[in-house]
Symmetry: C2
Subunit: 519 residues, 2 copies
């Protein structure tokens, strides 16, 4: 397919004026055609105005029809898979297998939300019937359900060009809720965004829905991104990226005349605790597991294990194998030059830290923007005395921190900000006797992993991919799994409403056959 390099504004294409740049092949630093045009402020205004119009329709679109839209988007993405396989590796350095795998996950997410809204019980319908004879006052009939907030702005992530981008979890859950979406494309994979954006544009048309259900805009975060978040018609924001970027959007949204929710998934170092007995028993396997988790996707996952707490007495049981594997490892290209430079700075910082030891590093290949796996080690006392060792180093590096007592382990946890995950490895006996640590893990994180590593996020009803600030802007939410839909809803109550005027979900006869809480 020939990429046009312009924004998708409802059913039409933007013209743009200023350049939004070309995608760069990180392996070669070569610029890829075409040159993308940033959306103009008029184009942005049109996208928002179309979204506003579409909301009036989409909010009252049935779950069945929303399911059809989501499935059609998935079908259209699958129909574009060869285009994605041709383009996405060039833009991202990611291999074909990853493109196919991530496309599968993306389409799986869309179909999961389709099933959720088709079944329909997710709206949390509650019915409290009238009690005309109640004393001292009769009770009115009240019924409530969740309703969509309005148009949503989604900021695509660099590290998941499909699953957390144009048709990713934020878009899928917002559409499922009944909210039109305007995606701000990530400049790192503009072509991938265009291919997926066209698949969504076509699906909206295929389903006969208003064109404003979806738009995709190119341009910088500072201009287009901020204009989107400030627009009075935008009612919520989804974002996956850096702490700096996420916090800037939070601050912007909080100072609007009408503040709106920002769901930003920002940064985490995902501590992994390895208790002494299990380290002694299974040190080699743990070293292998840690190496695999650490280097998966060139370490560019939000759930990358950036911090490992191991008892000093048994640390070498694990690090022995880990060091061997890291020393034998090779570099791979990162997603873009900016991420690679930041990784380099993070490594320098650890390398130059007086009391941090470099345990192992892999070998560096010839291509551009190479990330070399690294393992560092320090002691708990150094870690606790430093306030600069808790920053995320985004890439295949981890810091092993040796501790000498359970008290020290508790202090290590207490020194951390909010995390997406916290993991613990232990024998059955160790886990049973370390109950104090679970409250610490729970206070720190949204997902608690037992005898496993944090990478690999299941897309299911019970997944929580969120966590206390600053892992996310809003620890009450998840960006993965069916619960993500609740981010874009609010409850509405109908009092003494004639049955015929109620939404189907709340009608006496329960025509949709959904689960309801009725009194």
């Amino acid at each position: 397919m020939t990429l046009q390099g312009t924004s998708i504004i409802g059913a039409s294409r933007g013209q743009g004026s200023e350049s939004a740049g070309q995608s760069i092949n990180p392996v070669s630093n070569e610029a890829l055609e075409p040159n993308y045009s940033a959306a103009t402020s008029e184009e942005l205004e049109r996208a928002v105005s179309l979204a506003d119009d579409a909301y009036q329709s989409l909010r009252n679109t049935s779950g069945a029809d929303k399911a059809t839209l989501l499935r059609t988007i998935a079908d259209n993405i699958e129909a574009s898979i060869e285009d994605l396989v041709a383009r996405m590796p060039l833009e991202t350095g990611l291999p074909e297998m990853r493109v196919r795998g991530e496309a599968g996950r993306t389409c799986g997410q869309l179909r999961m939300f389709a099933n959720l809204v088709e079944e329909g019980s997710w709206v949390d319908a509650r019915i409290d019937r009238a009690q005309p004879d109640r004393e001292p006052l009769p009770k009115v009939d009240t019924r409530s359900m969740l309703r969509p907030l309005g148009p949503v702005a989604v900021f695509a992530a660099s590290n998941f060009p499909l699953a957390f981008s144009t048709a990713g979890g934020d878009t899928a859950s917002a559409l499922a809720a009944g909210c039109p979406v305007i995606v701000k494309a990530h400049s790192s994979h503009s072509g991938t965004a265009e291919i997926v954006g066209l698949a969504i544009q076509k699906a909206v048309a295929d389903c006969g829905l208003p064109e404003g259900v979806f738009s995709l805009v190119y341009g910088s975060g500072r201009t287009i991104g901020q204009a989107l978040v400030k627009h009075p018609s935008i009612k919520a924001v989804g974002f996956t990226g850096s702490y700096g970027g996420g916090r800037a959007l939070m601050d912007l949204a909080a100072t609007r005349d009408e503040p709106i929710p920002v769901y930003a998934e920002m940064s985490a170092i995902n501590p992994v605790v390895i208790l002494p007995e299990v380290a002694a028993e299974k040190g080699e396997a743990l070293g292998e597991g840690l190496f695999g988790s650490l280097t998966l996707g060139v370490g560019q996952f939000c759930t990358n294990p950036g911090l490992v707490f191991i008892h000093a007495d048994s640390a070498s049981s694990v690090t022995g194998k880990l060091v061997e594997l890291v020393n034998g490892s090779s570099s791979a290209a990162m997603l873009n030059a900016g991420i690679c430079q930041a990784y380099g700075s993070g490594l320098d910082h650890l390398r130059n830290h007086a009391d941090v030891e470099l345990l192992a590093s892999g070998s560096c290949g010839d291509a551009q923007n190479q990330a070399v796996p690294h393992v560092f080690q320090t002691t708990a006392s150094t870690f606790l005395a430093s306030d600069d060792l808790t920053e995320e180093v985004f890439g295949p590096a981890t810091l092993v921190v040796t501790y000498t007592s359970d008290d020290e382990l508790a202090q290590l946890f207490g020194s951390l900000g909010g995390q997406l995950t916290a993991s613990v490895h232990g024998t059955d006996d160790e886990l049973a006797s370390h109950s104090g640590i679970y409250s610490l893990m729970e206070s720190s994180a949204g997902r608690l992993v037992f005898n496993g590593f944090p990478t690999g996020v299941e897309v299911c009803a019970s997944m929580v991919h969120g966590g206390p600030f600053p892992a996310t802007s809003d620890g009450r939410s998840t960006s993965v799994g069916t619960m993500a839909i609740y981010r874009f809803t609010r409850p509405v109550c109908w009092q003494d409403c004639p049955d015929a005027l109620l939404p189907d979900e709340l009608k006496d006869a329960n025509p949709l056959g959904i689960q309801r809480a009725e009194v």
Copy 2:
């Protein structure tokens, strides 16, 4: 009982240093004993530190034990009812019947949350079991449920000294969720706060829970209130009051190093639409109903109907009776001098507006701080051309706006900010043929009332007492009804956790017998 006039800091009492003033009898402007002492910063620090400690215990307290706490609080408030009847009318000008009624509602709320957490299914337990044979990758076991956020700061409301104050809906729902509470007392009813605060303090001791589960601090919003909201250990805020006060807390919370959610219920004018046929058919009854809703509680309810949209052709059918009743009405004391002065300013503003007509006003009694019922009238075109007629006038005043077409009615709705409620009166035929209006009502409000008036908020599972900004800071929430508990929770996921280490709600055997979503 003898009031001490000091803060309640866990199991002990504060000493205070600066004065937080005396409560004033609004009917006489006489100051009531004792003089209250503001909490010192050390006392506040101690309250927060105790709350932090108590959270470690309360988060793991069973639903059954939390239910016992909530019921004991209700019992203890009932045991103090004669003290409340002796004190609250002096502080608030509200009659004894209201004290007994509001105490009943307050205890009813506490017992409603007790039943909710005792039953236990509210935690939204989700279980996705492992699928070790899944291809291409095995599925891990993941289980999630809602968990408490941490210590919560609650700001008491002036207009509900019991139901939205010390042991009101915010406190009840936060404790039910497992969050310790620190209440900032409202200076307008310090004695009522102390009586209720002691009932809670005793309940915490009666139940053998850590003293930090509850504290009550006196002092100004600017010092004690802001210090509470800025404290790193406070994880959420509940507030009921003015837009200015609520927005200040929102802004403060948003600029913390770790931003936290603020649930502020702020201001609403609660539009009521009266369609022409029903006005012609039932004008007199509607006039009576409106008068009753307008003057209930001296117009000092968040759901007071401050705005009435009536078709110009049939407006007089309704206003005829309304004017008669308002002209024959008498004044009553407002809650405090500040509220009464603000009401006077609001009336002056309407009285001095060139194109707003005074239709009726009641007579003014001799006592202090009297609010006289008022009805004003204007046209839709004036309303739409003025940007100063949508401000809440807190008290027994309403503005009737006559419109001449459904388009104009739609414009009127479009000109409003978020509301707690939107009401419509119509015949069956009128309601069936005005479907366009329901989307407007839904966009504007959290609760849609059919052929009724907005005052009277049922405390039940389907109630939504919330609405788009600026009615509340966060339209995704309600401060009344069982859904209020969700404000103080976040989901947490356990992955591959040994059964014995899981919370009871997620154990395989489902020992609590709660409803769960299991796959």
